[in-house]
Assembly symmetry: C2
Homo-oligomer: 205 residues x 2
Amino acid sequence: MTILENAEAGDGLRERKKAQTRRAIHEAAYRLVDEQGFESTTIDQICHQADVSSRTFFNYYPSKNAAALGLSGESLDDGAATRFRSASGSLVDALCDMIAGGDQFAARHLRLKRLVKRNPELMPTLGSLMTAARGRLIDLAAERAASRDEAELAVSLVLAALALTVHSTTESDLPSAVRLRSSVDAIVAVRNAPLRSAELVETVA
Amino acid sequence: MTILENAEAGDGLRERKKAQTRRAIHEAAYRLVDEQGFESTTIDQICHQADVSSRTFFNYYPSKNAAALGLSGESLDDGAATRFRSASGSLVDALCDMIAGGDQFAARHLRLKRLVKRNPELMPTLGSLMTAARGRLIDLAAERAASRDEAELAVSLVLAALALTVHSTTESDLPSAVRLRSSVDAIVAVRNAPLRSAELVETVA
DNA sequence: CAAAGATTTTGCAGGCAACGCAATCTTACG
DNA sequence: CGTAAGATTGCGTTGCCTGCAAAATCTTTG
C-alpha cells in the first residue's frame, strides 16, 4: 500500500507489477540520494533497496539521474496534451496550464525542489532535462500557435519561468499553473528594469 | 601556428604551453565529434590526436562534453565582467552585452551551433552548462540590480533568449549582442499572443 | 489445468568515463 | 646551477551503462 499509491488500474498483473517496480526504484533512488547525496549513492545501493538486479534498473530508467528525479522519459503527465488543446486564453497561458496544471504537479515539483536544493549537483541535470523536453513542447505548442517561431518563443518564455520556480524558495498556496504564470509576468516585466549607477558599483567592487 | 591562433600574450612559456595544449585538446575533440558523433568518439582518440595522455586530458577539461564544446568552466570571456560593469541602458541590455559582447562570441557561437545541430545528443549538455552558469551570472547581475530577485529574473530572461539563438537557424550579420537583445524582445512580445481556435486544433489532431 | 507463447528478470562480460596517487619530467627563479 | 613549483604521465580503481542469452514469470489457449 505504501508503494502502490499510484500504481492503480493496471490491466493485468503484469502491468501492475511494472508500475510497482518503477515506483519502488524511484522511491529508493530518491531516498538514498536525499540522504547521502547524488554522487555517493551508487546504482547498486538503489537496486538493493528496491530489490531488483542492477540490470533491471536500466529496464526502467536510462540513468541514475532519471531514477532519482523520477522522470521516465515523459516529463509531462497524461492529461497534459488534452489540457493544452482545450485551454483558452493566450498561448503562453495555455502552456502554463499544460505544464503545471496537473494535480500531481505541485507534489512532484516540491520533491524535486527539495532534492535539487539539498543536492545542487543535480541542477545541471535538471537543466538538461528541461532542454530535452523543449522539442516536444514546441511541437505541441505549434499546434495552436500562429507559426513555429512563435511556438519556440512561447516555450522559451515558459521554460524560463519554470526554471525560476524551481530555484525560488517561496512556497505558495496558489495553484501551480497560476504561480507559473505570475513568474512569466515577472520575467516580462523585468525587461526594462534600470541599471544601478556605475559609481555605486565601483563602491561595491 | 595553426594551433597557436589564439594562444597569445602568455606571461611565460608555461602559460603559453598550457593555452596551446588546451586548444589542441579542444580542437581534436571538436573535429572528432563533428566527424564521428559524440558517443562514438572516445577520450583516448581525442588524446591521441592531441598528443597528450588521457590523464592530462582531465587536467584541462572535466569531461568529454566540456572538451567538445570548449568550455573550460568559465563560459564567460575575460572582458565580460568589465563589460557588464561599464554598460549603460537597462539591466537586461547590460547582460546581453556582457554575454554576447565579446569579439570571440560570434565565432564560438557558430561552432557550437554547428556541433549541436549535427549532434543533437549534445543539446541537453548545453542546457546543463547554461544552468550551471546561471548562479555566477546572477551573482554578477545582482551588483547592478535593485534586488537579487530582479537579478534572477533578468538572467532567466537573457538565458532563455540565448537558448533560442542556439536553436535558431538564421545567420544574421548583426552584432551578437544586438541579436541577443532582439531575441529578448521577441520573447517578451509573445506574452499575449492569442491561441488558435480549438476547432482548428481538432482538425489537426 | 497443463503446455505453448510472450515478457520480464537476471547474471555475465565488457567498454568507457572519470578520479586518486605517486613518480617523472619541465619550467621558473634565486 | 640547483632547488622549488608545477605539469605530465602511467597505473589502478570505481562506477555507469550496454548487449547477449539463459532462467523465471505471467498470459493465453486447447
